[in-house]
Symmetry: C2
Subunit: 386 residues, 2 copies
């Protein structure tokens, strides 16, 4: 894009901007990688939560998708998507909304890892004559939930699901799924590759354990954006999930998963003032527009809230990163290096901030402004709430 | 409230809950304080950004209010509010939306602290025959923007506004305003009192400087929730602004501005799993529901994302705070102390999380569930976007 896009300079700041050309390029990259590895992709749509964005990510609405909320599941099913994994541990109160979607003909897979959940799903299924499709969550890196492949509780849970089926017309267990959240804490590509291998190995081992007691889950689902981009061997794996790869962000760039130029999301903001003594630039993007996510600078001495670029998307200085150093609700503070004086910027001048964590920044916006492949302007609404 | 409120236990989690009884109590507290000090209050409505909430905060829509976005200004003016301070430095592109509100008969005050802003407002005013009401931002603690009272640029700006008036029918300068953001970084009530005195003194000094050159601004506006609750002497001050006092939060409790029991906002969440080895409880409130705001634990060794309470709002353990230790998008992790086993909690069991920073947590929700004074259920929508 260029600074002369008239529509962009007439909108009220702050706003979230998506570069569709980069988004499409990122989408193709992982599609081609998965095609080469011979594995299906089940994109996680939680980053943008947007129907027009999903159309760029999935050509065919029959293809599998992942979501993080029932609000997304409902919006995507209503829009014609038919194969949805709700990738957060199920609770009894959420079953009614899931059942409604199933009764509309969609496959909506639920996730669980406790007998209490399996029992609740069984009773609901019996009472309401609904068939549920169940994934068991497997833990591959001890970072959150799921059952370790070696945990006897896995066999007990699987046996329970066979003895008390929640699906009269399908498999007792649709699949096993795991997520290597630990891939975000790596510091090299070789470390990501190790995590990727451990992620696959966790569900393979769990499947072997279940096979030994006569239970063969249909699907093995793994994934995170870092592991999806560096995994080499997907033998036995049915599908890979990834989410933030569509837009990428500074966390992914710092992990080495993408280049700065691949980041398809930025927040457009206007200069609203200065602190000449401190050589600070004040902008109208605070945490409301950027989020409070510190990304990879979480443990840094000098945390930051995003990388400052000019309106064309180029970093302000080639030799050193200039970042948003502080945020209040509707104010951002950029502490400039001595070589660049704050007064060089005009009041109202537009800047673009690359986000630390695209999911968190997108979550602060109800809609996204998009510069399309043909340099036109579109607005994509976000699916809100739970 | 009690755990037996049937409506509450039937809603999809996570959700934001407001306790109207506490909110009303917090509102009365500051109203009574300001009445005793003989000063007007201009509540900042940025915390909840909600018309029904504003009705609890301001009895009379002619009374002054503060907002942080044009979206709020428009929503409140359309609802009948007539005296609105937009408390973020103005940019030229935002003048048209302000002018539209002024032409509807509302007083919408704008804020500036540079000649460039004054020039842009003057030209717009001349070109479109609109009268603007201007506050000059004064810096009282060097934490963000505004002009120091001693800065010669203040006199130059004021003289410019007199020479190039933006208001043909009113004062060249409506008022001076300052915000002691530094009050959030204090560690004692006596420190807050010092900050409060400095906040008042900054605008008094600035007014004296302007009076010496023959300019008498009508209003002196100060405020932050901590300073508003501890300021003793408001001599010469026209109005006090405060925002988060309506609900309070853990930051305010830790500063000593409120008690834990005064916090009128919580996030209701359900248990979705365990990590028995680590004695972790997993909940369905991640950063999407809680925000990424670390509040007063920002620099702590063990940052947290909120205080865990039972569904009745009582902290889980009396002797030690149990907090949300980690968050992903839709997952929260609570590391329990050894005395409380994670398996003691049922899948689906509801908990309430008190927020670090109420403004940031409210910003993650499109609407709030409210338990009213009469224990009934209301839903208050939030004004979204910019």
């Amino acid at each position: 894009m260029t600074a002369s896009d008239a529509w962009l300079t007439q909108l009220t700041t702050p706003l979230l901007l998506i570069d569709e050309r980069k988004l499409n390029r990122n989408v193709r990259r992982l599609q081609q990688r998965m095609a080469a590895l011979g594995c299906a992709l089940r994109p996680h749509l939680k980053t943008l939560r947007s129907l027009p964005a999903a159309e760029r990510v999935i050509a065919n609405p029959q293809a599998p998708i992942t979501v993080s909320t029932l609000a997304e599941a409902e919006a995507f099913v209503h829009a014609g998507y038919t194969d949805v994994l709700y990738a957060v541990g199920i609770t009894p109160l959420k079953l009614t909304r899931i059942a409604n979607l199933i009764q509309q003909g969609a496959k909506v897979h639920i996730l669980l890892d406790t007998l209490a959940q399996a029992t609740a799903v069984y009773h609901y299924s019996q009472q309401h004559q609904v068939d549920f499709s169940v994934f068991i969550e497997i833990d591959c890196d001890d970072h959150r939930g799921g059952l370790s492949p070696e945990d006897p509780a896995l066999i007990a849970l699987a046996n329970y699901l066979v003895a008390y089926p929640v699906n009269r017309h399908g498999p007792a267990i649709t699949g096993l799924m795991t997520h290597a959240g630990g891939s975000y804490d790596t510091d090299s590509v070789s470390a990501i590759k190790q995590v990727a291998e451990a992620e696959c190995q966790a569900v393979r081992t769990a499947a072997t354990k279940l096979a030994a007691v006569g239970i063969e889950p249909l699907m093995l689902s793994v994934g995170s954006t870092p592991t999806a981009h560096f995994v080499d061997d997907l033998t036995g794996i049915t599908e890979v999930r990834a989410g933030v790869y569509t837009t990428f962000d500074l966390v992914m760039q710092q992990l080495g998963v993408c280049a700065l130029d691949d980041i398809a999301m930025s927040v457009v903001t206007a200069v609203i003032g200065y602190n000449p003594e401190k050589n600070w630039l004040l902008i109208d993007a605070g945490w409301m527009a950027l989020s409070r996510d510190l990304g990879a600078t979480r443990n840094a001495q000098e945390p930051s809230y995003g990388l400052v670029c000019d309106i064309a998307g180029q970093p302000l200085a080639a030799d050193q990163p200039i970042v948003v150093n502080g945020v209040n609700q509707e104010h951002g503070v950029i502490a400039l290096p001595a070589a660049i004086r704050c007064e060089q910027f005009d009041i109202g001048q537009l800047l673009r901030i690359l986000p630390n964590h695209a999911c968190a920044t997108a979550a602060m916006h109800t809609h996204y402004h998009v510069i399309t492949e043909t340099q036109a302007h579109e607005v994509w609404p976000r699916i809100l709430g739970w």
